[in-house]
């Protein structure tokens, strides 16, 4: 599968599963000292060849004119972590939870197993240098991080892996939401449930 097909496949899935709105979110992969990133304002569900643009990792070039406005965040993440792919999405339930919590601790089996804990960081400007630094620092320790009221950034060795963390987070957030709606006392099934907070 070519890199373009990979962008198309993941972009389409992100949109169809409601993890991004029509023009929301962005994705990139690192190719050495270059970054392939989605075009500013592109529709992730409808990616064409023109929607994936190339720019420098360390230095600006004319590619930056077309690249996602969150390119500086992606660059900082690549410079500070071992991630080779980034997915930024706006998972609705996780975003809602982030408005109430400082961290999202999954209670479902898959989320507990794969994520353990997702930190929530606060920044009003989505593309600022300050936020880029905080997100990158968090991703040194966690594979996915929420930005309060905004969305999540996930890293992986490939796009599909980063997408998996996003999808998993949203499902965990949904389970938390449903169980809170149901109320009552949750029956714990995880041996070390009290340890997840320390993750």
């Amino acid at each position: 599968m070519s890199m373009l097909e990979e962008f198309q496949r993941i972009g389409r899935d992100l949109f169809l599963s409601g993890l991004v709105s029509s023009h929301g979110g962005n994705m990139s992969v690192r190719m050495g000292d270059r970054v392939l990133i989605t075009h500013r304002g592109s529709q992730l569900g409808q990616i064409t060849e023109e929607d994936v643009v190339e720019t420098g990792l360390f230095d600006n070039d004319s590619g930056i004119m077309l690249a996602s406005s969150e390119t500086p965040v992606h660059r900082t993440i690549y410079m500070q972590t071992s991630g080779l792919a980034i997915v930024h999405a706006h998972p609705k339930v996780a975003v809602a939870l982030s408005l109430f919590e400082d961290e999202i601790i999954p209670i479902d089996n898959e989320g507990s197993y794969l994520l353990h804990k997702v930190p929530v960081i606060a920044s009003e400007i989505a593309s600022g240098t300050a936020m880029a630094g905080i997100v990158a620092e968090s991703l040194q320790k966690y594979k996915i991080t929420m930005v309060r009221g905004h969305g999540c950034f996930a890293i992986g060795q490939v796009l599909e892996e980063a997408y998996q963390w996003v999808s998993c987070l949203e499902e965990s957030a949904l389970v938390i939401y449903y169980s809170r709606t149901l109320g009552g006392q949750m029956k714990e099934f995880r041996k070390n449930a009290d340890q997840y907070k320390k993750w």
Binding site: G32, S82, L84, Y113, G156, Q157, V158, N192, K198
Partner: protein, 594 residues
């Protein structure tokens, strides 16, 4: 502080002097231990003027901060030296108990220098270190040597013997050190360097006393790590049921299973030698290295004896690589390699190369494709450098070169390739070409992402983008080798879990990025070592066959390795110049500037 003991012992075999020094904490954190620590010491102390068999070459046994701890699959240790096979920096890694007993005795590492006047062995326990006469052991095979030395140990249950067989004594360039009778410190000739020092064995003993800075957190992380091992079909079913030979069928299915010295990429007698057949015919019971929940080892039997293995690589090298499909003969050859102290991969591939030379009418080294008897005889002859064995004991590159036919040696930097056909994979060829110890799969194996889908399946047609993935794997592999954890655990256990275990054990905060950064530092230091030895980008290459002769058959039919563009991308990605030399900024970033 948990993780590191904080002590390194030096033993000079020429003078008999033994001393103990502290392991500086910065070195420990920057290089982790194991392979990284060995590389740092070798770089600082063994320069280009030192020949591999010179008394000035060092033989360095190192453990990692996770060796012998509760971390799963953490019995690993490394032996570092300048290789007599490749001339490069070399470290070889092993899952026997020698490393954890060394740590239990109170040392992170042993630095052995000099050359004893007569055969000796080194005895390390909690009371100290002594050099002991080993005259009566010289000439004995690995099993005999191990039994005698364990019989002399105060408590054989807490002792471990790492020794050489006749191959190491006879300076076979790919002689191994064998630990606990069956676990090889296999590649690159560490056994020959040990033989050149007149050192027959290192015996380490101690009672386990590894502590953790935060035991409660460690227990939790270890519980989570064991959970993912149980959940993965690779580590919970494939490897435990079939051992590493589970790969035989998988690799053949992908057309990536070389045979007949890499002239074919599938094997017509596959069913005779598959993991399933091995289980049906030879299997006695599953075995595991110390502290490993996976247990990919197996005790097996043939009409002629019992032993461990053969592993996937050994089965392939002594089997299909030589056109042989007699499973019992392959297992017997594997047992023999262990007893004589030979690296099975280099042994098989060197014999396979000689078989091709014979088939082409170039030279007759006494072996024929498909002839198990001649292969078995060659194994014995190599270890004792008898007859044709003397030429074969030099390794495939030197042996083929002697006949003016270097291109038929399947090696990079003189180290024989393992069981992966690079033409059928995306960047495995690049991995072989850039490996700092020569053609090997354990420095950054693309098996996970390209074949098994770990973490996800990626395009293995060599499309752009996978070079970065290879570099990622080269770094994390260096970290595994330095921490003291088996890379097979890495099919399930993530860098994140490893970093959290490191934090809980050492009390120093580690995040995954620290492990990748340490891996990159180690990789670049090894590169600097090889550059200082005179290696250049011209040595980052592969045999012509892989780059020019398209595969004749199988799913990857028609493909060759397009090395040049991949190499260019690789150097750029690494922050090296066009000649493969790390740039100043890169060295500064890694704290490696002169």
């Amino acid at each position: 502080m948990g993780g590191w003991v904080g002590k390194i012992a030096r033993i000079n075999l020429s003078t008999g002097k033994i001393s103990v020094e502290d392991l500086p904490q910065k070195t420990a954190v920057d290089y982790l231990g194991g392979r990284g620590l060995g590389a740092r010491i070798l770089y600082d102390e063994v320069g280009p003027s030192v020949e591999p068999y010179s008394p000035d070459n060092l033989l360095i046994f190192t453990t990692g901060p996770l060796t012998g701890t509760k971390a799963p699959s953490s019995s690993r240790f490394s032996v570092t030296t300048k290789s007599p096979l490749t001339g490069t920096i070399l470290d070889s890694n092993c899952g026997g108990k020698a490393g954890l007993r060394l740590k239990d005795a109170g040392y992170d590492a042993l630095i052995i220098s000099g050359k004893a006047a007569k055969p000796v062995c080194i005895i390390v326990d909690e009371k100290g270190i002594k050099i002991q006469d080993a005259g009566q052991l010289w000439g004995k095979d690995v099993n005999e040597t191990t039994d005698i030395l364990l019989g002399q140990a105060a408590n054989p249950l807490t002792a471990s013997v790492a020794c050489i067989g006749p191959a190491g004594e006879n300076l076979v360039r790919f002689a191994a050190v064998i630990n606990d009778k069956s676990k090889a410190v296999g590649r690159g000739g560490v056994g020959a360097v040990m033989g050149s020092k007149n050192l027959k064995a290192v015996v380490t003993s101690g009672e386990s006393k590894q502590i953790a800075a935060d035991q409660e957190t460690l227990d939790f992380i270890v519980y989570e790590a064991r959970k993912v091992i149980k959940q993965s079909p690779i580590t919970s079913i494939g490897l435990p049921t079939y051992g590493t030979s589970a790969l035989v069928r998988v690799m053949d299915m992908m057309g990536a299973f070389p045979s007949y010295n890499f002239t074919e990429s599938i094997f017509e007698h596959l069913n005779d030698i598959s993991g399933e057949m091995l289980r049906e015919k030879l299997f006695i019971k599953q075995k595991a290295c110390w502290g490993c929940p996976i247990g990919c080892k197996r005790e097996t039997k043939t009409a002629n004896g019992t032993g461990e293995g053969p592993e996937y690589e050994s089965l392939w090298a002594l089997g299909p690589e030589c056109g042989i499909h007699d499973l019992e003969a392959i297992a017997d050859a594997n047992y023999l390699c262990n007893r004589l102290g030979l690296d099975t991969i280099s042994t098989g591939v060197t014999i396979g190369c000689a078989m091709e030379l014979e088939k082409r009418g170039i030279a007759d080294e006494g072996v024929r494709f498909g002839d198990a008897k001649s292969m078995l005889k060659a194994v014995g002859d190599i270890a004792y450098r008898r007859n044709h064995g003397d030429a074969l004991a030099e390794g495939s590159r030197r042996m083929a070169e002697k006949h003016g036919a270097k291109e038929f040696a399947m090696q990079a930097k003189s180290m024989e390739f393992p069981a992966y056909e690079p033409r059928a994979m995306g960047v495995q060829g690049l991995s072989f070409a850039t490996s700092n110890r020569g053609g090997c799969h354990l420095r950054g194996n693309m098996l996970g992402p390209e074949m098994l889908g770990v973490p996800k399946i990626v395009d293995h047609s060599g499309a752009t983008g996978t070079v970065g993935l290879l570099i990622y794997h080269q770094h994390i592999s260096a970290a595994f080798d330095s921490l003291g954890v088996c890379k097979f655990a890495g099919f399930a256990v993530s860098d994140e879990l490893l970093a959290r275990m490191m934090t809980a054990i050492t009390g120093i905060e580690f995040v995954p990025q620290n492990l990748h950064h340490a891996g990159e530092r180690i990789w670049n230091l090894e590169r600097l070592y090889n550059l200082r030895e005179g290696f250049t980008s011209k040595d980052d290459t592969l045999p012509k066959r892989l780059m020019e002769e398209p595969l004749k058959d199988g799913p990857a039919k028609g493909r060759v390795v397009k090395l040049a563009p991949q190499l260019e991308e690789y150097y750029r990605y690494r922050g090296w110049d066009a000649n493969g030399v790390p740039k100043k900024e890169k060295l500064k970033q890694l704290g490696l500037e002169a």
